[in-house]
Amino acid sequence: MTADLKEKPALGRVIVITSGKGGVGKTTSAAAISAGLAKQGHRTVVIDFDVGLRNLDMTMGCERRVVFDFINVIQGDARLKQALIRDKRLENLSILPTSQTRDKDALTKEGVEKVLDELKQEFDYIICDSPAGIEHGAQMAMYFADEAVVVTNPEVSSVRDSDRVLGLLSSQTKRAESEGADAVKAQVLLTRHDPARVESGEMMNVEDVLEILAVPLLGVIPESQAILRASNIGTPVVLDQPSAASKAYEDAVRRLTGEEVEMRIAGERRPGLFHRLFGRAS
């Protein structure tokens, strides 16, 4: 058995970063998670599925290096190797940008599968950055996934849309359609969490959201100025200066690779007497 494994290295895992609702932090999370995985030594590629609204390239800071894209590869106008952009900071991280001009219908199931199969040979992790919504682009991003990270804000419309997306993951994916295959392993990544607002009862807490969605928690990313800063300079947040957000993403990445990391949720431990008496000022 072990000899077998050595001869045939395990194929890469396909992980979709999805949410339903837009603006909750999918691309930020896709960038941070893929950079985090690469930083840990895993060969990682991140693919932009948002055809027509390319943005992963900016978040990753490689927008001026895009020549060919995902659609060119699917349509046979470029080879995969030509379209992959090697990250300048991490040598085992690559980006596959999407097309800015084509239509999302250019994403065919066969074309996507072919590209993913080729990437699985070369990479340990294939991160699919889904577009918002539940239309064709989002369906293609999730269809071949082994795992899903459902990015959710502690806010009603985001939670509702996440619930919807979880339903699609359990019914509209290759794993769901294949008899005997394990279901897509879905986990929630709670972003824009604001401990002060949770404390004052203005924001649902982590437990509330998990109770509603009933899937495991991958991590909690606090609302942080580091996120906008990282996007401004085109650096995944885990490669920028350390912050509460980068720390939280790194923990989430370690959990994604199967490590057990204690969940530290800022502001949601039972507040000590001191805090109860004197508030949260520190």
């Binding site: 806010e155 509702r160 339903g167 009862g201 203005e202 807490n205 509330d208």
Partner: protein
Amino acid sequence: MNLFGFARKQRRARSAETAKDRLQILLAHERSGGGRGGEADYLPMLQRDIVEAIRKYVSIGETDVEVRMERGEQMSSLEINVELPSEVGSKAG
């Protein structure tokens, strides 16, 4: 300790609580109708079938049947309104 617990609970009972309650009620409905999100997908089909059934006896148009769903916390109700042509109208036509 109880005093603090009470004070904390009071503060917690704000909009976050409302958000959670609303979501739980809504999602329970959305999930029940044929998988998550497929809620009340059958209403157009039901409407069509009702029109067909009535047409066996009375001549009515596609839009003469109105199907409405009212979702409540404890139970939901289905309201079906059929507009029948007046005797005179049907004879004349």
